[in-house]
Symmetry: C2
DNA sequence: CGACGAATGAGAACCACTCTCCATCGGTGC
DNA sequence: GCACCGATGGAGAGTGGTTCTCATTCGTCG
């Protein structure tokens, strides 16, 4: 799930499964998300690919989300953030700067992830809840904002 | 931080610190949040206290949030959810139903919380990030929606 | 080429939430 | 009680990120 051509094929397959074409506009979005250091907002995406139309970018991000290619992160800030879906990259979590809104990826120890999953399964079972996935967000102030 | 009168006093103090009065409308909001089984949306809050004006409720929720009395939870759904701040209740996390949007509280084992905090401190230090708090959200389907 | 459905893009619409503005309230000093 | 004044409430307008509309363009398959 890491080699570029492999990733392109996986994306193509998921789009095909949803009767969607892998057009140049969609490819530009995926390229923008790949090039980014972490999750980015739509304005940031347009900045890096200025020939994308805003409405098309939003529409295609939603379609890509539905096809399991893109993940949307919604926090308190003004814009949602977008990144490639975990199934195309790897399971991870986020540092969120409460000052500038920047989001960065972090990866927890595999053992800790396993402990968390066990704990969630147990808690959820007690509530009649069927868990599918989880998110861990660490809020604070990033290095840029600390000065 | 549990006895009702103690809680009322704490809320009063925090409001006073922010030059805000503990008025009947704000008390109604706090009562609604206390009565609720978990985090609720503004429409749910108005349903339970129909004489609140929407604009006043939103304004007072924001003021209460600023005063550290209320916490706002923002997920992907259409409405934000509101609950009493953790410093007035206790640190906990959330189950989120992806079908109906309902949010329920869960509490992790204290040892696991400590492990998480250590892990976050370490990860954040490597990134020049200063963590202040964290959230853990477990997504899935609730019992009501499973049938 | 011709046809037809999918995709695009400019702008309108949506809607949760915030702001504006004025009436009212509540405390303070006289 | 009364005048004053900042805080509060309520109705409605405004904001802005995101989604929808619809006419046009594109891709694909005969
Ligand atoms: Mn990420
Ligand atoms: Mn909660
Ligand atoms: Zn920052
Ligand atoms: Zn549900």
């Amino acid at each position: 799930m890491v080699a570029t051509s492999e990733l392109e094929r996986a994306i193509n397959d998921r789009l095909a499964d949803h009767d969607l074409r892998y057009t140049s506009g969609r490819r530009a979005i995926v390229e923008g998300l790949k090039r980014a250091e972490g999750p980015i907002t739509l304005p940031e995406l347009l900045e890096c690919s200025p020939d994308l139309a805003q409405s098309s970018a939003y529409r295609n991000l939603s379609l890509l989300e539905g096809a399991g290619v893109v993940r949307r992160l919604v926090h308190g800030g003004e814009h949602a953030h977008f990144e490639l879906a975990e199934s195309l990259t790897e399971h991870h979590h986020h540092l969120i700067c409460e000052s500038c809104g920047q989001v960065r990826d972090i990866t927890l120890d595999a053992g800790l992830e396993r402990t968390l999953d066990r704990s969630f399964d147990e808690l959820a079972a007690n509530e009649g809840f069927t868990p599918t996935h989880h998110t861990v967000d660490v809020y604070g102030v990033c290095g840029d904002c600390t000065g």
